[in-house]
Amino acid sequence: MKLNFFKPYIPTIIFIFILIAVMNITYVPYPNIIRFSESDYPNEYVPTMIVPGEYLKISKSFDKVWLGFIELKSEQEKIKIPDDFSPGWYNITLQTNGVNTTINNSIYITPISINDFTFIQITDFHTDCYDGLDLQERKNVFNLVNEIGPAFVVDTGDMTNYGLEKQYMYYKMIISELEMPLYTIPGNMETYSDPNLERYTHFLGPGNYYFYFGKILFVASAALHSPRSWGGFDSSQIKWVNETLSKDSDIKFLLNHIPIVAEEGRDYNFVPWGWKEGHFSQIEDGYEEIVKILTDKKVNVLSGHWHGYSNKFQYKGATFYNTPSVTRMSGIKEGPRFRLFQIQNNSIIYDKVLDVEKFYITHQYKSNQTQVKIIIRNEEGFFVPLNLHIKLSPSVPSYSINKGIIIKQSSGDIWIKYNAPIGESSIEVLPII
């Protein structure tokens, strides 16, 4: 009698249990456990940035070292980069016991001062499966990034829509035009079709690593619960983050796609377990431990994930930046956006979110590339610090400008530091005869 009562409901109940089981089986709580330590540098995935005249530390043992084709002298695992080294990408070749090992594009000689530089955080790029206007819009974003000329770019995840191979190929095609180093971490979207982030690792490298610009430390962390939009830190991830953030530095940044601390929960607001001590967090496991590390070390945390959300939230000494997406968002008027930081003498003096559709730079070249007029239209509502990279004819030994400061000249390549005011402004670069 009792069995007969339940009989009609058996298929539905079994179905629900099967679905829950499938969700549990396909759930990967902690994907991509690749974590780089000191002995992994230099490597082709996380380029080392260095300024001419500074020392490059190499933790691998070697007898001789070449940067490009130039042999450099080593001094106790360090090599000094000559002052006259041209900015750009270099392969490093290490000779050990007569065997040469070349690591391609692992060193970037930057033209920008470590005491006064800008960098850009882009996030939630969401490259789709199709070529066309959407892809062109994303190319335009990196074209503008090249024009603004930050020292480097960090991408805090969701660079693809579902982590498909074609999406990575389009993303790689777009970023190949970027002049400066790009550091990426995976977001939840990368885990959708690739729960263990094998495809991400193949295309973009490790999810957990660190890098320096001068004395500023950046730690990239892939604390994801694949394929969910929530994240978490297991004990080994917490240990790695703590050890890496303990490295000697003047300012510390943590890159993590999922917001660790935020003022509000956006469309997750009504999930009760997201609320912790009056603020919201999408970190489920290891929340208390990671927040203690971040607040104790006064870390600046860069996140994305919430697309339309732009916020800077200070909590117990740590600062949590949530940056809006490059991809457009239904119901939001702004175009693709990213955050520009300026650091001067080890202090963050500028952090603004730029709308790509409110900032334009055009170049008018004249006289066989020996003169250029750069026209800047700034509708952002605030000034924008630029490091313009101009390529002029190397036949002219030296150039002058009517505005800004030339920070470096190297055979036709000129880097100009200029704060673009609100409205239209222009800079003229002329040969010195």
Partner: protein, 194 residues
Amino acid sequence: MSYIKRFKTILHHPTDSFQEIIKSPSFFKTSIIIIISSIVYTTIAELGMFNSLMPHFIAAYAIMFTVIWFLPTTISMIFFKIIGKKFNSESYIEANALSIFSILTLCFIFFTIFMIYSNIFAEPKRTAYFAMVYYNQWYPLLIIGIIGVILIFHRVIRIGQLIVKAKIHQTIIIWAISAIISIYIAYLIFRGWL
């Protein structure tokens, strides 16, 4: 009337289907048809949404699809029992499941057309998820959804009259409460897990 007749009349003459269900309830058979359809729908939706099949999301969307009809039906049945209504539970669940499922099928057909358009004919081409979430193309689906909710409410009120013998206002209140609870649980699955 054969078993299959209840499916044939559910969209244009739902009362005929409900009468048939009252005479010979068979939720076991109906639920198997709904389950198989759910798997087919979520698999197709997954392809159109992401251009890829991901087991976790097929299962998650199938749960959402099931929660949408199973939860409010079960919760409203419990409420009706609490207020002292005596009726056949199997008939009630089958009639509601069939009503909601038929409307969801219509919405799914529209969604499939949207997915085909978005992935093949639109310029620029976009996966359905991309078009809806990032490029404001969710309005047609919202309109279909609103029409679907109105049609579902019309049918649950008829079921309240025919099977439960409840007054219209009792059905509206109980279904409103059941829907709110179910929507919140669906929200917790969607935002709290995914």
